[in-house]
Amino acid sequence: MKYIDEFRNSQVAKKLIENIQRKINPERKYNLMEFCGGHTHAIHRYGINQILPANIKLIHGPGCPVCVLPIPRIDQAIWLANQPDVILCSYADMLRVPGDKQDSLLKAKARGAQIQIVYSVLDALEIAKNQPDKMIIFFAIGFETTTPPTAHAILEAEKMGLNNFKVFCNHVLTPVAMAAILDDNEVKIDGFIGPSHVSIIVGSDAYREVAQKYQKPVVIAGFEPLDVLQSIEYLIDLINKNKSDIINQYTRAVNPEGNLKAQEIIARVLEKRQQFSWRGLGQIAKSGLKIRHEYASFDAEVQYNLPEFQSDDVKSCECPQILRGIKEPKDCKLFGKACTPENPMGACMVSSEGACAAAFQYSLISR
């Protein structure tokens, strides 16, 4: 398959592995965090973690938006779906995510709530257009990648005068979360395999502040296995030279300033929240987005009197440590026993891109 096979060529992979082996300093450890769930998935799916030298440790970061959404927000989505005449539109992977008492949108749907799986926010807009007697609420989640479409949909809805379209906004910001992880003293990260799709929007320069403040190199990497291997090689180079530079490996899609048009739309429609809570990481200042006052008529949080829910993460779940790279999935006593993809207890098991789910599904560790 063109544009895919080139980035999965096993001969090229062998070369890259040889380069990495030649360049590493056997005396030290290299702790590399891949922030994105997409990278976590690729690393496990292609068995990259097994073909790397033993002193390179890949730490799976919190870059899975489905995973990091806090339980009370899921409870609020379920609450919204249960309101009269509402159709809640959601990406499919949100449906299984457990809220309080293991309730989920999937279970709410089975009880009769109108929940529609969509592949794009534009599908939700279409439903709103076709069903004027229903209130269509889009459950907006994701990092900078899925944010521009949400903002665009709000502008479109305004243009079309669609009064029956609302957005429950849960978008979060990547560079802020990276900084929050590095703020923790326990964390030992030598460099980041930087986000692919997020970087297309924000640009590679968006990580400069984090890289400089915390003295960590960042290599923006594509999602294909050869992208990951080449980025690891670049990171080893930077770490060996003690440099905290930013290298853009994913040049076929990412430029330094990002997608300015998308950034402009986001800035027009959305603004930073003072605080947003992350499952597994807790409260992080200015890490989430909400809909600006000017577009409040599309904001489900404003239009519905959303009740506040209180529920904590499961106590014995090690997600907070796993998301910071302090522990591994196998160190958690719930992993593979009480906590499985069918019955996830914590953030990392929730979506196939989560660190624990990827380890459960693909790795050869016992469970």
Binding site: I4, R8, Q50, L364
Partner: protein
Amino acid sequence: MKINYKGNIDLTIGAGGRAMNQLIHDLMLAEFDNEFLAQQGDQAILPPANGKLAFSTDSYVVSPLFFNGGDIGSLAINGTVNDLAVGGAIPLYIAAGFIIEEGFPLAQLREIVKSMANAAKTANVKIVTGDTKVVEKGKGDGIFINTSGIGVVENDWVATSPQDDDLVIINGAIGDHGMAIMSKRQGLNFASDISSDCAALNSLITSLAPYQKHIKVMRDPTRGGVSAVLNEWATFYNCSFEIDEEKLLINESVRGLSEILGLDPLHIANEGKVMLVVAKDYADEICTLMKNHPLGQESRIIAKVNPANQVKVSMKTLFGGLRRVDWLNGEQLPRIC
């Protein structure tokens, strides 16, 4: 009076009176035409069979009803035929139950019935008895079909436990059926050329008779795909399997759509594939024989049997790494069979 196929199924047809009788007579009896159905009893009286009987049932709720390469009718016949054939049976008779929603277009019903008749003819089975019910609007989703089938195991073939080093053969590309359905799913609307592999496998399987004592076990990888079959076998027979990714055949469009949707073709349903565990020394010969059959031209060895391991199914990736191949974990898929 003739049936007006421009109309829709209504509750009069469902009431069991003259209208229902006419529909069954003019459509089902005419299309499925055979001597057992012609008895028109509440049961079909069948002649004695020459061996042990195989008996299987399956309900078909696929959505959409019509897709590239088939429809709910051909699927309902082929699916049950295949369930019998992979047990070593020669499929003979099918019972068909229809549950139709009020308002369902008669033209579509006719198309589905004709498709069933064609599939039965191709598979050399007879639809010998049936039932039709109509449910009120909103109580069904167009049409559901249940088929049950009877086959005869004329020889003494029975599935036996796979041994270490045995090999796993499949008769071609994986994931076609599931992806043909997915690409037509509401909200996706991909313009794709993916066609379901929906087909009756009994003649392919019968052609392997000379090697039957070297065939350990057979299964058609439908829902849950190849990974589900291997995981089931590994659990049941207490062994493990190692797939060689390089050997898998996955059509270009299926790969493309899998990439976009984030699906693993190993988890995607097939409706015209059979997986066989065979003795290592005969695997090549069996594969060659399969390639002579129209449904087996792309047959290949894709995996081998290893001693039991806590990782039941693994795959040697194109990268040379080894990864676990797990069951599908409850992804959101449309109804595919």
